[in-house]
Structures are given as structure tokens and as C-alpha cells.
Amino acid sequence: MTISRRSLLQAGVATGTALSFPSVLRSQTTLASTQAVRMVKSGDLGVFDPMISSYYITADHGSAIYDTLFALDSRMTPQPQMVGNWGVSDDKKTYTFVLRDGLGWHDGTPVTAGDCVASIRRWVEVASGGQLIKALATDISKKDDKTFTIALKEPLGLLIEILATLTPPCLFIMREKDANTPSTDPVTANIGSGPFTFNQELARPGASFTYDRNERYVPRREASDGLAGRKVVKVDRVIWDNIADQQTALAALQTGEIDYLESVPMDLLPVLEGNPDIALQVLNQGGFVRYLRINFLQKPFNNLKARHALLYLIDQEAAMRTSSPPEYIKTVTSLFGTKTAYINDENTGWFKKGGDPEKAKELFQEAGYAGEKVVIVQVTNIAWMSNVAQYVAHTLRKIGVNAELNPTDWGAVTARLDNKGSVDEGGWSIYPTADVDFAMGDVLGNPIFLANGDKAWYGWPHNDEYEALYARWATVATLEERQSLAREMQRVWWGFVGSVYLGATTLPVARRASLTGLIGMPVIVPMWNMQKS
């Protein structure tokens, strides 16, 4: 067979075209990248209503499409956001708020004081701090279209802090008709007054959600500072892609198909660290504090010495190494986290690097431990929870404790935690969980600080002395006094061991180097200010 030059040339051109075809098509498939930012968040947005849900991702969604009366700046100080002016009466019992100009809903109607009142009334039914306001309020009502008041039975110095809380559920202002929905009925209208609008048409639950710049949003004049100040959106659109597999998400970030990855698989960090197109950035400097909730109602941890044993047993660095590299780990000895205004060193003598298993074993014996089963809730579809549960079980078994893991998925965990019965009746002994460090300073907003037994959060810790101190928190006027009160609370808390800390982790997010302007705050990753070159 003779091969002519013509046929060879033709074959060469055809081959070259075929080889380049995918690249040509691939370039055609890339979105107009300067117009949209694609983000992969730490989970799937399953609940849209940020006023009733305690999920951080729902709060993130809320911060995009809704606005808040006050917002925290980078020093965690509340600043007016929707509020233009505000004041408090001489007796410190009546707060008056006047909305700033330019506030409008995505449906084109103006924001009014009635919307704010309805939103506050709905929110106080659900949020811990809000319930304190509800208990103290004699009246929450509007005076005119831009003015509303909150009148209290007695002064509440932390009212503004509570309204500005970042511990979900946060107070996002909704339209009156949405806010008049019972707090048990999730609002899914997604119409807010925030810097982004929610694109319902492009919403693909479980797959992707699209947020468009709200062209009608009027930002404040002050410079952007944390979540406060100007909210200027510098991109046309932000798309939240729900990529369930971390490896796939990482690969998509490497190729530029996404711009931001919130949960970076820690074992794959080295892959990203050498890549000049990708930057690792710690947005939440305080990180997450991980801890164990202990069941006060059942053996063995209804015994104080057994709880002390657990406190001495945990090697925080080892516990945190189950899911974080050492450079992103911190030990935690203060009840109030690592960076809040209330951290202190009161009654922290229990802490020992590496833990103290000998002391723990001794304490279990003193507690009269007789081999009772200790059930540790292991949430298998959240990697760090699963890993740390295994670490705790292993550590307990090494000192002779009959520890058993109870694997469950997130969907079933609350049903398990609700069970106050013994482990043989489906109950539990230890539940590993976490909170953002900010929430460790939000005493009134975070239910983990309660120790009122049956009414407390899971574990149902109970200590009257501590509760008496806790009750004073809302009445204390200055930061210094609260810091002094925090010392006392911490002393008592570690005395009766309301919980056991595992450590803290400051996990970085990964972003394309071309994506800049990310604001670093706890809980929420603001989508305003970021831009893509």
C-alpha cells in the first residue's frame, strides 16, 4: 500500500484537530469566569431558613440574601447595619431604633419597621439569646415605618450584642409576611434585602444554588470591617456547587473549575501547598473548638470522679491529630475557647500535655467504676467526628473502660441524643461535637453554657453554683466585670466538669489565587468584597 504525502498531511491535520478538539470544547465549556465565582461550601444547603436553623451554612446563606440590624466588625463589636440611629432611654429599659435609608426587599418593596418587629418576634422564639429578650421584653413594636422599639422590664446591657450574635440562628431580617410564619415552619421564599438575590430559577437543591448581585442594594458609607460597614459586591454571580466528593472538589479547584473550597481534605494539603495557582487562607482565626458532651444522667458519668477522669485522660494533641495536621491545632484549657474576650487560666491545672491516663485510671477506680458500658456516639458521615470518637474509645479501652462505639449517621444522631435513658435503652454516654470559637464567648447565645439539668443542652449538666453565676451574666454591665465573672464560671465548670475539651483547629480554606478580597470572620464567609481577576 502506498502512502501519499497528501494522505499523510490529511491524516496529520485530522489527528491534530482530534487532539485539540477536547481542549477547544473545554474552553467553550468554561463559564465566563470573570463574571461568576464558584464556591464549594462545607456542606449541602439543606435548610434555607436562617432564623430557625443552627447550621452555619444556613447562616452563610442568610448573610448573602438577608441583612441584619447590627453586624460584628473585625473586633467582634456590634455596629449598626440596617439601623441608622439607635438610642436607649435613661433607665436603660427602652431601646429605639431608626432604620437607615435605602433599604429595600428583592421584590421591590421597601423595608419597614414592621418587618423588623415581626422578624425579632419570630427569632426570639428560637434563639437562646433571643429567649432572654423575650423573657424581659414588655413590648416590641413599631412606632412608624422606620422606627421601632424594644421595651424591657429591666436593663439588658448585652441587648445589642444579642441582636448581632453570630451564633446561629442569627437575627436576619425577613419580610413581615415571611416573619409572621410560625417559627416551626421553615421559610423558603428566600426574598431578603441583602447584597445578593437568590436565583430561584437556577436553584438545584442538592446540586447548586446561584446568588446574583442585588443591583438595588444600597451599602453603608463606612469602610468594610468584618461583617460591618460597606457591603459592596464585586462579582456578578456566585454559585454554590455541592460537590459531595472531596477528591473531586480538590481536582476541580486545581483545574480552575471552582474558585473556592471550604473543606480541604487535610491529608491532601501537601498537594495544594506547592501549587502557585492556589492559596490556603485561614479565614476563621479562632477556628473550631471540639469537645465532648458527657451524659450526666447515666453511669458512669453521673459520678464526678468519672468525669474528672475523662478530663485528665484526653491528650488534646492526639485527639486533634485524628483529623488535622499539627500546624492547625491548638490546645484549649479555657471554657471560653481560644480567642474570645473571656479566655482565662482559672482552674486549668488538670491540663497535661499528652493527657494523664494513669491519673484517669485512678479516678475511675475511685469513682467505683464497675465495667459499665460507655457508649460513644460516632457520626460516621462526618469524618472528624467519626475519627475522634474512635480515638476516645481507644483511649478509654486502654485504661480498662468498657467503651463501645455507636455508629450512626447525622440524620439519626439527634434521635439518639434525645434519649435520656441508659445505654441499654438506647441512650449514650459521650458525644463529640464542636462549635466555632466565637460561640465559646457567646454565653447567652450558646446553649452549651447552660447547666440547669433537664433544660440544658445534651448531656444535661447540672450545677446550682454555676447556674447562679450564669444568671448574673445578663446583668453585668462592663466587659471587665464579665471577664471576672467568666473566671468564676470557669472555675466551677472545670470543678464539676460540664464538658471535656478535645482542642481547637483553625482550618484553612483553599481558593484560586485569582480570587481575592475574602473577609475573615467566624461562622460566615461574606461573599461581598471578594473579586476575581
Partner: protein
């Protein structure tokens, strides 16, 4: 034939009804509470109880079941607890990616699987047969996600020829759609090619050893005529069965492939719904998929008449 089809259609309804009852009860009796998931783990028990009440989950089981059946009969598959949207709308959103992946996979799998099976049978015992058999064994043994991640590494990250993930609707451009489907289709096709090739080979070998094949050869029939006019039709019944079952499995959702390549298909929809205990979606998808499964089986049974004129209903 018409009576047969009618009988099978009626049995489809019966199967869907049984699946519906089973799934309904299983969901309500299994651990997990959508109200608790909505509220989050910091919610008070009172809040969770109120949400349960709001969702109607505290109603007696028979009341919930009758309400659900009544809506179903009226064509209302319910509303997603979390998304607040009709279940049928959410399923419809996921149908195109699933059907795209399924149809492309079955086309590639059948074309290559049947071809490999025929070739392997024709060259039974030879080098080609051994190579194809080894490929089939490997294709069946290596997990889909391993192949998927390797493919992503080679063709997306290293060479950047193809995208890593995602689905683009056909409306956005045929080329865009196709290029996003290449890697998932190839990945998912491998085990199906292996499976179909093995069945095709076994079936063809059985037929090739029949007397009438020897007679055809003695009469001077060409290899092509023997393989495709005489053998393949007679070997077709088991091959069609396998193709039908494969397609039914594909349409039901291939979660691993959808997860690796981030394709928003039916498989991911139902797995996400299970994780969140979104009962209406789980119920809706499983009923529809069970009905589809039965209908595909019916189509396979009817297709036998095309290859074997002795089969009549």
C-alpha cells in the same frame, strides 16, 4: 400480545404499590427525624417537637399513609421537606443528567460489549479471546470510583483535555454537554462492557457449537453471515436480558459515578434525601424507579420476539 401487555402493566401498579407501602413504613420506623435535622443539633426538644407537629409527623401512621396515598393517586408526589418544592419537580430536574449518562453508557456498553463478546467467542481459546476475557475480568473487578479518579487525574488534571466534574444541559450546547459526559460515560461503561461481553461470549459459544452452525459452515456461509445472521440472533435472548437489567440499574441512579463526577442525577438525589430523611423524595423516587424497572423488564420480554420468532405472548 395486547392482553399480555395489559397484564404486565397491571402488575407494574401492584409492584409500585407494594414498594410504596414498604418504603413508607421503613422510613417511619427507621431512626432519624427530619424535624431534628431542620432544626439542627442545638435546637431544644420543644422546637423539634413543634416542627414535627408542623410537618404532620406526629399524626398516626395510618393517617399519614392515607393522606400520602390520596395525594399520590391524584398525581401529587408530595413536597420536599427541605427544599419546599414538589418532589416531581426535583425528580424532573435530575432526569436529564441521569438519562444522559444512562443512555450514553448503554450505547457504548452494548456496542463494545457485544462486539467483544462476539470476537472472543469467534476466536475462542486464542490470544484475542484471552485479552478480552482478561479485560472483562479486570473491568468487572476494579471499582468504578478507582477508574473514575484515575481518569480524572489523567485526562482532567494532567492533560486538561476534559473537565473534572459537573453536568451541562444539552440546551447549553451539544458540545458542552458531550464533553462533560465523556469521562463519566467511559468510567461507568467499563464494568457494563465487561459484564455484557462475558454474557455475549458465553451465549455465542453455546450457539456456535450447535449442529446448524456446522451445517451453515458446510453450506459455505461466510464468517460474517455465520456470526451475525445465524449465531447472534440465537444468542440474543440472554444478551437482551442483561442489557435490559443494566439499563434499569443505570436509570435507577448510579450514585458512585454521580458522586465522583458531580453529576446531579437521581442517585445523588435519593442518597441526599436519605441522609436528610426527606421522606417525600425517597418515597417518590423509589416508587417511580420500581415502576420503571418493571416496565423495562416488560420491554426486554417483548424484545425477545424480535430475535426469536418462536416466542409469542
Amino acid at each position: 400480545m395486547a392482553a399480555y401487555i395489559l397484564r404486565r402493566m397491571l402488575s407494574t401498579v401492584a409492584v409500585m404499590a407494594m414498594v410504596g407501602i414498604f418504603v413508607f413504613l421503613l422510613l417511619r420506623l427507621a431512626p432519624g427525624d427530619p424535624a431534628a435535622i431542620i432544626a439542627g443539633d442545638k435546637a431544644t426538644p420543644q422546637m423539634i417537637a413543634s416542627i414535627r407537629e408542623q410537618l404532620g409527623l406526629n399524626d398516626p401512621l395510618p393517617v399519614q399513609f392515607i393522606g400520602w396515598v390520596r395525594d399520590l393517586v391524584g398525581g401529587d408526589f408530595g413536597t420536599s421537606i427541605f427544599a419546599g418544592r414538589p418532589v416531581l419537580e426535583l425528580i424532573a430536574q435530575r432526569l436529564e443528567p441521569t438519562l444522559s449518562l444512562s443512555i450514553l453508557t448503554i450505547i457504548v456498553s452494548v456496542t463494545m460489549g457485544v462486539s467483544f463478546g462476539i470476537l472472543a467467542a469467534w476466536q475462542a481459546g486464542g490470544l484475542l479471546d484471552r485479552i478480552l476475557t482478561a479485560f472483562a475480568t479486570l473491568g468487572f473487578s476494579v471499582p468504578v470510583f478507582v477508574v473514575g479518579f484515575l481518569a480524572i487525574y489523567l485526562f482532567a488534571i494532567r492533560t486538561q483535555w476534559l473537565p473534572v466534574q459537573g453536568y451541562q444541559p444539552v440546551d447549553d450546547g451539544f458540545g458542552t454537554w458531550l464533553v462533560h459526559m465523556i469521562l463519566p460515560t467511559v468510567t461507568l461503561s467499563i464494568p457494563y462492557i465487561a459484564f455484557i461481553a462475558r454474557i455475549a461470549r458465553a451465549s455465542m459459544l453455546e450457539v456456535l457449537s450447535e449442529d446448524y452452525m456446522r451445517t451453515a459452515a458446510a453450506k459455505g456461509a461466510s464468517s460474517y453471515s455465520m456470526l451475525f445472521h445465524h449465531a447472534l440472533k440465537n444468542a440474543g435472548v440472554p444478551i437482551l436480558t442483561v442489557i435490559g437489567l443494566s439499563f434499569a440499574g443505570l436509570v435507577g441512579g448510579v450514585v458512585l459515578t454521580e458522586t465522583v463526577f458531580n453529576i446531579p442525577g437521581i442517585g445523588r438525589l435519593v442518597v441526599d434525601a436519605i441522609n436528610k430523611r426527606d421522606y417525600p423524595i425517597i418515597q417518590g423516587v423509589l416508587i417511580l424507579v420500581s415502576g420503571l424497572y418493571v416496565l423495562i423488564n416488560l420491554a426486554v420480554d417483548l424484545s425477545y420476539t424480535l430475535v426469536d420468532p418462536r416466542i409469542r405472548y
